[in-house]
């Protein structure tokens, strides 16, 4: 019997695991000591003598040709060390490698705009000055003369042949275009009792980490070595891009990532700025620092992929989904920095949590005159999962069925796990229907319905929405070969090093950067668990430093992967170190290695009870080594690379195991909608999460709640909205409305634990299930307003959007039973 088939346990609060093991315990994070005392070290806290600061000059236009840039006045300003334009920088660096196949691989992307600007906020020139204030003063004096061009502001228009072209060199706005077809789609539609047609729009937003992007480069002309401090959370993946753009061998670049104040994927696309400060430091021979402004982040950081679906669903009368077909237009913004990866990453959840077999999606990735998109919590999957949840609601509504029953009818069943979806992805356990039932219980659905009815009689509109989603973790990079078979990426891997010093102290370092998920704590727990130590006694190296931390090209904090990939690496390294300690201890205690138990900082013989503290083992192995036979391995430093058994998917049929493991979540929202204003009051929010075994349940719970709140605010508050002229309307935190403590209720979480059949230790990833909130809230608002018969196609629900949908409508339909 596989672990997945065991019935999930429900845990109301993250209780510490029984026994002496440390994996499974909600210990306070190690990082929290420095974070609560003001001693965290974030990028801008890193200070180097003689650092110069930069200020960027931004494009005020969405689309324009640069006629000229006059830097004379700016260059003469006090404290100014240099001013560079895009043309200047172009001579010093190579353009960034493009992931797209021809012709979009010919796009020239530099840290500063060259010849043209393609979105509002695009940097066109940079001032380097003694301090930030002086840099800002001089940046104002840079005169740029533009020929304004018509912008193209949505993906569907951008894809049309008559649209203005952003990148003339490629002659099209298409980044990538391809058809995914699984199963017998036309057959499914031929059997359908009902075909539902819909258009859905998933809006632009990002998760806006509180710490902004930043980078500090220090080039040592004597050694020719560049030290690059960055808060990019995928630094070693970016390294080939950075090194080749700078024309520097990678052994000349040291990358240091200190504490990171949140990323949610948004900090992955900062590599153009990393290159910019690096080249400036190389030119000027002094450290150069960039700390982003919030206005720059919002205009020119990373937005999540904006996607429009034109979709048809083939449905049987009983609510069974038979097939889906249609088109998806992904608005990737002006440059394809991480794109068109999004054009395949959605396929990790191509069929969501549902059993239907037939899907045809024509996917278009398109350039528009907006901020480049890139990873944002639930990258490219949240959009697709939104589509599925909304389709389930539509099926139920059209057939007069219960929205929960329709999901249940279509869910992959627990007894089918592990389940291979038609595109080759494997769902590794769980009981989706039971999670749905639990959410319904938590909400007490029958009493909510009664309350809804009573309130409607008084002109008040309560609604409930429930949605489900997958959180896929540990992606197989080979999936990008579906979009470009020549890309040199595949698999996924992570590296960890665990070592014991001469005094018997244990240290650990690993590849993923720490952006708030408590990696040092989690690593200490795993290592302590394996070596019989207390996590307090394991020294986890903070941050990431390419000189002291092991890494692979896949290293980083993204794709919900650290518990899974990092966990695998930590486990491998710790177990190998344990084995080596056992061999040495066995020799010293005159017993067999299998007899040695590591516990409470000692190596003890189970048979004799004789024990040695680890300090003796370390001391003997590393300092007094003639006590050991010369052929005994005294290396107490273990680096282990964990590498799951992925295969390369075929780019012809686009099938393969795109990701290692899947958590799932079901969310439930209770809202009250003011029918006169359209304002949504979120009254209650519950979530059931199953991410398999938990290493630190409190950390997991924090991820689930935090992600849910990102989804809630995306649905109700946050929108990176542009005007038709290409101006970004949400250009500061005045208009980009992050949720405050008053905007969200206390999210209630319960956990199921179905150990993964794929991930090490039975864990799955967690942290990106927040996209679930968008369909849950759309469903809840529709449910509240069902007497008015309004439906919503957009993932973002502003009061005005709701109010205008209600305009002229009266509650004609009697309330449902």
């Amino acid at each position: 019997m596989s672990a997945a088939r065991t019935s999930p346990r429900s845990v109301a609060v993250p209780a510490p695991a029984e026994g002496t093991g440390w994996v499974g315990k909600s210990i306070p994070t190690k990082e929290s000591v420095r974070f609560t005392t003001g001693h965290g070290s974030y990028l801008d806290d890193v200070k180097l003598e003689g650092t110069a600061h930069i200020a960027l000059v931004h494009s005020p236009y969405a689309h324009a040709r640069i006629r000229s840039i006059d830097v004379k006045e700016a260059s003469a300003m006090p404290g100014v060390l240099a001013v560079y334009t895009g043309e200047d920088i172009r001579k010093l660096v190579d353009p960034f490698m493009q992931l797209a196949p021809p012709p979009a691989d010919k796009v020239l992307d530099y840290p500063l705009a060259v010849e043209k600007v393609r979105f509002v906020g695009e940097p066109v020139a940079v001032v380097v000055a003694r301090d930030r204030y002086l840099a800002a003063d001089a940046a104002e004096m840079v005169q740029v003369d533009y020929d304004v061009l018509p912008p193209v502001m949505d993906a569907e228009s951008a894809a049309s042949p008559s649209a203005p072209i952003l990148h003339e060199a490629i002659g099209t706005n298409r980044v990538w275009d391809g058809v995914y077809e699984y199963g017998d789609v036309d057959g499914a539609f031929a059997q359908a009792d009902l075909v539902i047609q819909e258009k859905f729009h998933y809006h632009r937003f990002n998760s806006a980490p509180l710490e902004l992007n930043a980078a500090l480069a220090s080039f040592d002309r004597r050694t020719g070595e560049l030290t690059l401090y960055t808060n990019n959370v995928m630094p070693m993946f970016c390294m080939p891009l950075v090194a080749s753009s700078l024309r520097l061998p990678s052994d000349r670049i040291r990358v240091i990532v200190p504490d990171v104040g949140g990323s949610f994927g948004n900090k992955i696309n900062s590599f153009p700025y990393m290159v910019l400060v690096s080249v400036l430091s190389m030119q000027l021979g002094r450290p150069v620092k960039w700390t982003e402004l919030r206005s720059e982040f919002l205009a020119a950081g990373t937005h999540g992929n904006e996607r429009t679906f034109q979709i048809e669903a083939a449905v049987r009368k009983d609510g069974t989904l038979l097939g889906l077909r249609g088109e998806a237009f992904d608005d990737t913004g002006a440059y394809a920095r991480y794109e068109p990866a999004g054009a395949v990453i959605w396929a990790q959840v191509a069929f969501s949590m549902y059993r239907h077999k037939n899907l045809r999606l024509h996917f278009h990735s398109v350039f528009t005159n907006k901020c480049p998109v890139g990873p944002n919590r639930g990258y490219s999957r949240a959009q697709h999962l939104f589509l599925y949840e909304r389709i389930m609601d539509r099926i139920a509504d059209r057939l007069g069925l219960d929205r929960g029953e329709v999901r249940e009818r279509n869910f992959v069943r627990a007894d089918e796990m592990p389940y291979q979806a038609p595109n080759g992805t494997v769902l590794d356990g769980g009981d989706y229907a039971r999670a749905l039932h639990r959410v319904q219980e938590m909400l007490d659905l029958p009493s909510l319905r009664a309350q809804q009815k009573a309130l409607r009689a008084r002109g008040r509109y309560l609604g409930v929405g429930i949605a489900a989603a997958l959180d896929s973790a540990g992606n197989n990079f080979a999936q990008v070969r579906v979009i470009n078979p020549h890309l040199p990426f595949s698999g996924n891997s992570e590296s960890a090093r665990v070592w014991m010093d001469m005094m018997g102290r244990v240290h650990v370092a690993m590849g993923p950067t720490n952006q708030g998920q408590g990696h040092e704590t989690m690593a200490s727990q795993i290592v302590a668990h394996e070596l019989g130590l207390n996590p307090e006694d394991v020294h986890a190296l903070p941050g990431f430093d390419s000189h002291s931390h092991p890494y692979t090209g896949h290293s980083g904090a993204y794709a919900s992967r650290t518990a899974v990939m990092g966990g695998g690496a930590l486990l491998g390294a710790a177990r190998e170190l344990r084995r080596r300690i056992q061999v040495i201890a066995a020799h010293l205690l005159k017993t067999a290695p299998e007899d040695i138990l590591l516990e409470k900082g000692e190596a003890r013989s189970r048979r004799t009870g004789n024990a040695l503290p680890l300090s003796v083992i370390g001391g003997v192995a590393l300092g007094n080594s003639l006590e050991l036979p010369l052929d005994m391995d005294t290396n107490l430093s273990v680096t282990y690379v964990y590498r799951p058994p992925f295969r390369i998917p075929s780019h012809v049929d686009k099938k393969g195991n795109f990701t290692l493991t899947y958590s799932y979540q079901v969310h439930g929202a209770v809202v009250e909608v003011d029918p006169e204003t359209g304002k949504v009051h979120l009254r209650r929010y519950v979530a059931v999460d199953d991410c398999g075994n938990m290493i630190n349940p409190a950390i997991v719970e924090g991820q689930v709640i935090g992600a849910a709140v990102h989804g809630i605010e995306a649905a109700l508050l946050c929108e990176a909205k542009y005007g038709a002229d290409g101006q970004l309307l949400a250009s500061s935190f005045t208009d980009y409305l992050c949720a405050t403590s008053l905007d969200v209720p206390p999210v209630e979480v319960e956990h199921f634990i179905t150990p993964s059949t794929a991930g090490p230790m039975g864990v799955r990833g967690v942290g990106e299930g927040g996209g679930t909130a968008l369909p849950a809230l759309a469903a809840a608002v529709e449910d509240a307003l069902s007497p008015f018969g309004v439906t919503f196609q957009d993932s973002h629900l502003t009061p005005e959007r709701i109010q205008s949908a209600m305009r002229g409508r009266a509650p004609t339909v009697p309330s449902p039973p």
Binding site: A136, D137, E140, E676, K679, L717, E719, T734, T740, E800
Partner: protein, 295 residues
Amino acid sequence: MYPRPFEYRAVTTVDEALRVLHEVEDGKVLAGGQSLLPLMKLRLASPGVLVDISGIPDLSYIRPQGENAVEIGSLTTHDTVAHSALLQERCPILPAAARGIADQQIRNRGTIGGSSCHADPASDLPPTLLALDAEFSIVGPKGSRTVPAKEFFVDLFETQVQRDEILHHIQVPTLGPQWGWSYTKFNRREGDYPIVGVAILVRLDSHGRRLEEVRIGLAAVNPTPCRARAAERFLQGQEISPAILKEAAHRSTEGLHPGSDMHGSSQYRRDMVQVFVRRGLEEAVTRARLAGGNP
């Protein structure tokens, strides 16, 4: 974000403030700075000389002015207004409006005078002070003068306070038991600037049936905070009924030219004025009836 260079002059008396303002070319008064400094950081404002009056001790007070009024020093913070027992007793609409401003940190520093002089049409106090028919005492090189609220707000970000003057204090009336009030701020997040703000005062007859007087101050719907005069006139002397309040709400948008932004189009703001004038009137009437013993 970094302000452009300026010269900072801290003053400790009103006279000194006036002297410095008179001396310098492009001086600007800094009170709490919670509106001005953000604008300066965005480089949307760049005065040559910033005259910091926040250190003048005798401009921060709330005191009774006889039985019928309360005088509020212009440097009184929003937090102090929000927690003032005297205002709560005599003029509770003002603490209610102040409590909704931004957040604790900004209320700790922002001042009633600064907010009034900044005259952002989308802020909470100006429409409230308009509805209260507050009086603004301004001091300048030629002495002091008092300006009624209806004349104080001249245009977008412009008041009667001249470049070489400062606002000394604001006087608001004591609201007797026949008065009812409401302040409604409609926005997407609490603490944000209102999409619409509606300050309402009603005075009822002794039976609590008829509206003797109604004042409606509106925020965020015109270049200046304004009164809904047509609705006020319509309501005066009327017997209270749902239909009358609805009609008044309808008339409250007369003469309004709200702008559009991503949180609300002009049309939406007009719709919201109607919704919140009606609801605000209901709330104010309920309060007046309770206070007057006619619930």
